[in-house]
Amino acid sequence: MKYQTTSRDYELLSAYLDNQLGSEDRAHLESRLIADPELQKEFHEISNTRLLLRSMPKMRAPRNFYVTAKDTKTARTRGFQRLAPAYGIVSAIATILLVLLIFGDRLVTSTSQVALAPASVAPIESVPVQKEIERSIVSTSSPTEAPPVMMVEAPAIVSTAPPSAELLVGGGPEIATPTTIYLNALPPTSTPEITISIMTDQSITATISCDGSKFSEPYPTIPYACPSPTSNPSGFLQGILPTSTPISADSPTPTPYSTSAPTLTSTSTPTTIPSSTPTATSVPTETPALVQNTASESMVLGPTLPAPLDQVMDTANPTLTVPEPAETPGTIPNFDFLQYLVLAIELSLAAIAIIAGIMAIILRIRAGR
């Protein structure tokens, strides 16, 4: 039977040649060599190969390889030049990340511009709004207070408002902040026992009528702002955004309104709640209105404007509350901040890509010389 030499046999033969086998392995291999002529032939060939290799003449160095101080400096320079591939890789990675970031940023911006805006509106301003409302309601300032500077007559803007404008709650952040203004404009004559509540559901479209005929309806308790036809029809609550058009310095926001706003008295409290038709009887006829002219819109803010239909009086709740929307988490950061952050990262990646690429090119050129 012909025995096939395995790699293990070659390893044993090689170690046996170099006297690297233990006594047990050596005895076993020697007995096999005696019994197996094929293995003996292999051993002979491997031994001759080893002899041939050992017969190779020793090479002598063609010169002396002395090391000089100049050689050591050159070696350090070459070591730095070996970083050229690393710079190239860094540049390539930074470029790829930059491209991905740019496309990802554009994709996210295009898809979430409408969806993100409402989420960034209500949670930010809900608490301050409530505090201001409470403060204004509790406040029983003197009715002799001077009216704000910006108080003008309301009818001027009523004519510019659409008869029945549908205002979407939420939308772009570029609208002014009328809500804050009108909430401060609560008449100081309002008494704590009057319960005011804004039922705001941002998940639905709040239909707010700015029709002049609605002004006659006895719902004088909660004023609101009617946007002009040129304003963003997405609703007044979106104006809460802090990044929106700033209010003019002479805004009467912190100032309690004068008693010339004859809107809310104890007798004008609505009797039924919640109803789509207000039941208050007192109708303000001549009331100063707060007009705010911004670059994009003209707002009339005054206590005499009728409340939206979905605003109800809640006697059980003595505060004016703007409930948070149920489906908008309050942890979404400011969209503009994210944009600035992305822009900063993009600029950093671009700088890294350019600098690393230039370094790689310079080192390559130096290495080629």
Binding site: S7, Y10, E11, L13, S14, A15, D18, Q20, K41, E45, I46, N48, T49, R50, L51, L52, L53, R54, M56, P57, K58, M59, R60, A61, P62, R63, N64, F65, Y66, V67, T68, A69, D71, T72, T74, A75, R76
Partner: protein, 197 residues
């Protein structure tokens, strides 16, 4: 001055002490580089690179066999050179004259004491062996050069290559087997006593 004292002096920045070590080891290093690469100029570059690198990194030498440490450096330098040559166009192993013709016998093979026929046969055999060495994988070649050509034992080779002794044994056995198969193709060049069947 012994080797350890020279190494310590070289670690302190004494370049003359290090150059005395260079004189002691340059033939061995050059021989190893030439057998690994198979070409004179590249072996020269690898040898010079080895000593410069050894001087710059002498602080990392923690004792033990300085010869094995140098062989490890030159082996890595040869690996780098071989990788570079694989990426770039091949360089002829044989030197050429001014007309571009291949020189039959390189300068290092010339032995004036030999007869022309004997010299030619010996040179051809050495070329055949070098050819078979060049066909080995780099790891096998470094092992067989250290053990069979440089005469190192397994432990020294293990230190120089940085692999366990078992790996050295395995690589050496496979390298010898492949060399045997390769040299069988040059049977007419082999001496009668070394004739492989």
């Amino acid at each position: 001055m012994d080797e350890i004292a020279l190494i310590q002096a070289a670690k302190g920045g004494d370049l003359d002490s290090f150059n005395r070590l260079v004189l002691a080891y340059q033939d061995m290093i050059y021989h190893h580089a030439f057998r690994m690469i198979g070409e004179e100029e590249s072996a020269d570059d690898a040898t010079q690179t080895t000593f410069i690198s050894a001087y710059n990194h002498l602080s990392s030498f923690r004792g033990g066999s300085f010869k094995a440490w140098l062989l490890r450096i030159v082996t890595n330098a040869c690996y780098d050179e071989l990788r570079r040559r694989k990426r770039r166009p091949t360089v002829p192993l044989e030197p050429t004259d001014d007309t571009g013709e291949e020189v039959e016998s390189a300068r290092w093979m010339v032995d004036p004491a030999e007869q022309p026929e004997d010299r030619i046969q010996r040179v051809e055999l050495q070329r055949a062996i070098q050819h078979c060495l060049d066909r080995l994988p780099d790891e096998f070649r470094s092992t067989v050069v250290m053990v069979d050509i440089q005469g190192m034992d397994y432990f020294e080779a293990s230190q120089a290559i940085g692999k366990p002794i078992g790996t050295i044994k395995s690589r050496l056995a496979r390298a010898r087997s492949r060399l045997r198969d390769c040299l069988n193709g040059f049977a007419e060049l082999l001496p009668s006593g070394f004739r492989l069947e």
